[in-house]
């Protein structure tokens, strides 16, 4: 017999988690299976809705959605659904800011640029670029992903409305040159003692002590986002106390603590909603013609059937391998859903790095019901919906729309799956 549920979600990123949560909150028995750990670990922890349309920075994402082409996922599900999805996110994830307004916030990045985003973790809140307080960015010599003086100069050159300086310090304690982000976080989380000039001092105090000499009237201090994992709030509070200045984290590239924290919150919420989930084994196949009868999960070589009434495909795009390509073409590997793409692979990209590449929009083709369609426009399976980066027709990197599309389409797919339960 198969492992059963009402709704089976394939994929554990933001889209999969949101659709599982949306369906579970409607009372369905939901199971989420993900091959690898959530892609949220690679995410900055910022939740973007729509940052750019073309080369224009967006002020109000909801307004700007009207300017997107008709087949864009936001247009397919409609602005109200986007709002409902964001409401589910706000209701689920405590400790996020930005829901007081429709307009984008501007956050500094670890490269020293300013990024429009819709929601940001509380740890990043004191760093918003529209705040004119004097800012000190602090980098750690052993954490090369964040060069604080460089980021400060970039912000300055970009015309940020505040004075900003950057300094690199050596993190207290004898950390390796390639210490992992989790090492910094763990030391600060547990306030473990580190050796400073022959004395043993708690890591939080030792860190604050190293910065005091550079503080020089700066009212807020930005760190790379490694300030704790389970106890991030306490770490920031201790540093603020010691420094007498506001403390914020600058979102970083992968692997990312804010992404990890968000992943933890969402899985906790899924657990509280009574859903089942498991990670580590891939969905490799399916049975069924017009409806999917069951999918096949490969458990270390054993083929185990998982059956459900409704299925959601949220395996991600080209980066997450939810869409695959080789010289002969582009495909969706689990259900072999149609992925529109030019026949000649030299038409998949343009010459310039930042040109408008067509590969950036590769993904399955869906209508407003989010059901993947074949080359002739007919629905592939009655009980399959797709969400997130598996969908084609939008360029999340250029638009800064990745999280928002995942939340909106994940929400819509999860809700519609429950409505269709037989």
């Amino acid at each position: 017999m198969a492992i059963e549920s009402d709704v089976l979600v394939v994929g554990g990123g933001l889209a999969g988690l949101t659709s599982a949560l949306a369906a579970a909150r409607e009372g369905a028995h939901v199971r989420l299976v993900t091959y690898k750990q959530s892609s949220l670990r690679q995410a900055s922890g910022l939740v973007d809705l729509l940052g750019y349309v073309g080369s224009e920075a967006v002020v109000d994402p909801y307004e700007a959605m009207a300017d997107l082409h008709e087949e864009h996922p936001y247009r397919l599900v409609g602005t109200q659904t986007v709002r409902d999805g964001m409401a589910l996110f706000d209701d689920t994830v405590a400790g996020y800011y930005g829901d007081h307004t429709d307009t984008n916030a501007l956050l500094p990045t670890h490269g020293g640029t300013v990024k429009p985003t819709a929601r940001y973790p509380e740890g990043a809140a004191a760093g918003v670029a529209t705040d004119d307080r004097r800012t000190l960015l602090v980098g750690f010599e052993s954490l090369t992903d964040f060069d604080a003086p460089l980021a400060a100069s970039h912000l300055d050159a970009a015309g940020a409305p505040f004075d900003v300086d950057g300094v690199s310090i050596s993190f207290p304690g004898d950390l390796r040159a390639d210490a992992k982000v989790t090492r910094y976080a763990k030391l600060l989380d547990q306030d473990s003692e580190v050796a400073v000039e022959g004395r043993r001092v708690g890591a939080r105090t030792a860190l604050a002590d190293r910065i005091k000499g550079h503080l020089d009237g700066h009212e807020r201090v930005g760190f790379p986002a490694v300030l704790g994992d389970d106890h991030a709030r306490a770490v920031r509070a201790a540093l603020e106390d010691d420094l007498g200045a506001a403390v914020f984290e600058v979102p970083m590239g992968p692997p990312s603590l804010p992404g990890l924290r968000l992943e933890d919150r969402l899985f906790e919420a899924l657990d509280e909603a009574g859903a089942s989930f498991e990670a580590g084994n891939p969905v490799v196949d399916y049975e069924g013609e017009e409806r999917i009868e069951h999918v096949v999960v490969d458990r270390k070589g054993a083929q185990v059937p998982y059956s459900a009434d409704q299925y959601v495909l949220a395996t991600g795009g080209l980066v997450s391998k939810g869409v695959e390509s080789d010289r002969s073409g582009v495909r969706e590997p689990v259900f072999d859903c149609h992925v529109p793409h030019p026949e000649n692979r030299y038409d998949w990209f343009e010459d310039g790095v930042f040109d408008d590449h067509s590969f950036a929009r590769f993904g399955v083709d869906v209508g407003p019901d989010l059901r993947p369609r074949d080359g002739s426009g007919s629905v592939e399976f009655d009980n399959l919906r797709a969400a997130g980066a598996t969908l084609g027709g939008y360029d999340f990197a250029a638009e800064k729309s990745g999280s928002g599309v995942s939340i909106a389409t994940g929400y819509a797919a999860g809700r519609q799956a429950v409505e269709d339960l037989t």
């Binding site: 750990q37 390639d178 989790t182």
Partner: protein, 458 residues
């Protein structure tokens, strides 16, 4: 410099156009000689460092470079002919073989396989066979041998192994920490009990009775070969007995074939020859049974992990793939083939509430949630997950004097969560996680099969 005829010009080379003209001859760069070449795995690494953020050792140990270095990067370095300059970094012995990095890697780099092979090479080529550490590790890794002796005189062994002066001596001479209590040896091993009970023929009879009760065909093809491993044979036969009665309850007839240690402690200590000797026995005895339609079932998640993943990764033995594909963890198997959750949701049990820890090796088989999801609908017991941290003991790792502190630092998060959780009895599938849970909390630790057995019996 002037343009000459042999300088490539834009006309000759156009990077965005096909340049595989008639002159193009593909060349096989790497020999395809059938050996396990890990180059594709090393090439798949995109340096995203997700593995590093999953490593429980790198989180607490400033000498440990992490799985990305120990895996794909070290693999590349050791391809060098200059074995002096590029000897295997001795921090490979700090890796605890929790295998979390495998599951973490979005590009499916075979990290633990790289670690196991590097550690094996390190022990073979760079570790003195005359050193105390080598023999300490070898004794720890060959737990089955010590346990076999102890099982002959279990009462004496239980006293001797926790006798203060003896433990002091073991710490001083061998480097086995005296901080830990040795697990108790059972006065009757599982195999002795099994033989006393009548072995496979009694099991067949019981399975047939159960099938009749359930309305299934008396001769239904439901049979399993039990891989009990060392611990449930010598130390916790109650777990093995719970497995027997649970599977017989669902109409499965059981055989208990000849078997050795799964190899888990040997992989972790780089003793691949010892592991291989055990694997040859295990594969030979289980491959025949798989051929006859049996599935291999383990109650220890590290044993099932070894048979499913490490054997095919490390050993080219006839039948190794067949056994791997037919090996399951016990509860997993019942969830796949029987309506276990249905039956449990209608049952009730008299059992203490449980603080559950998912072993890393269960995690890597996708089993980290099954106990919680099964027992949350079971009347009479509450279950609370104590989080996703590693227990830190990792088999023999936490038994080594020089690693004891580190093992406890890794476990601290789990101890904190156990402390703040309401239940005061622990639950886990892994024997050494259970030692660590007991050591850090003082709780009694049970196995999910014991809960299921009690629920079905009630």
């Amino acid at each position: 410099m002037s343009d000459s005829a042999d300088t490539p010009t834009d006309e000759q080379f156009e990077p965005t156009e096909p340049n595989t003209g008639e002159d193009f001859e593909p060349v096989q760069v790497f020999p395809d000689d059938g050996t396990m070449d890990l180059r594709p795995g090393a090439d798949s690494c995109t340096k995203c460092s997700t593995c590093d953020t999953n490593c429980p050792v790198a989180e607490v140990d400033d000498s440990f470079p992490g799985p990305k270095f120990q895996g794909p990067e070290q693999w590349r370095l050791k391809q060098s002919d200059d074995s002096e300059e590029f000897a295997i970094d001795d921090t490979i012995t700090e890796c605890s073989n929790c295998m979390r990095c495998d599951d973490a890697c979005p590009s499916s780099v075979p990290l633990s396989q790289m670690h196991n092979e590097a550690r094996g090479e390190y022990v073979d080529d760079q570790m003195s066979k005359l050193s105390v550490k080598y023999w300490r590790n070898r004794i720890l890794a060959n737990y089955r041998t010590s346990a076999w002796f102890a099982s002959k005189v279990p009462r004496l062994a239980n006293v001797a192994m926790n006798f203060g002066p003896a433990r002091w001596l073991m710490e001083k001479t061998l480097g086995v920490t005296s901080e830990r209590e040795f697990p108790e040896f059972a006065t009757q091993t599982f195999r002795e009990w099994w033989a006393d009970r009548g072995g496979a023929s009694v099991s067949r009879e019981r399975a047939r009775e159960a099938r009749e009760r359930m309305g299934e065909a008396r001769d239904a093809d439901k049979k399993i070969a039990y891989f009990h491993g060392c611990y449930s044979n010598y130390n916790t036969p109650e777990v093995a007995k719970a497995l027997v009665s649970t599977f017989e309850h669902f109409g499965y007839e059981i055989v208990v074939p000849e078997q050795r240690c799964s190899g888990t402690p040997m992989f972790a200590n780089g003793m691949l020859d010892d592991a291989r000797r055990g694997a040859e026995v295990n594969i030979s005895s289980f491959a025949d049974l798989v051929d006859q339609g049996y599935d291999a079932i383990a109650s220890c998640t590290s044993c099932s992990m070894a048979l499913r993943q490490e054997y095919p990764e490390l050993f080219d033995i006839d039948g190794v793939e067949d056994v791997a594909e037919h090996t399951f963890e016990a509860v997993e198997y019942l969830r796949i083939h029987e309506d276990l959750s249905g039956e449990l949701s209608e049952a009730s049990v008299d059992f203490p509430n449980l603080a559950y820890h998912a072993p890393c090796h269960a995690r890597n088989q996708g089993l980290e949630r099954q106990a919680v999801e099964l027992f949350r609908d079971l009347d009479g017991v509450d279950i609370e997950d104590v989080g996703d941290s590693c227990s830190g003991i990792s088999g023999t790792y936490g038994w080594k004097s020089e690693k004891y502190e580190k093992s406890m630092a890794i476990g601290e998060e789990m101890f904190d969560h156990m402390e703040s959780a309401e239940p005061e009895t622990g639950l886990t599938e892994c024997p050494t996680c259970s030692m660590q849970m007991e050591h850090g909390s003082g709780y009694e630790i049970r196995h999910p099969l014991e809960v299921i057995d009690a629920a079905l019996a009630d």
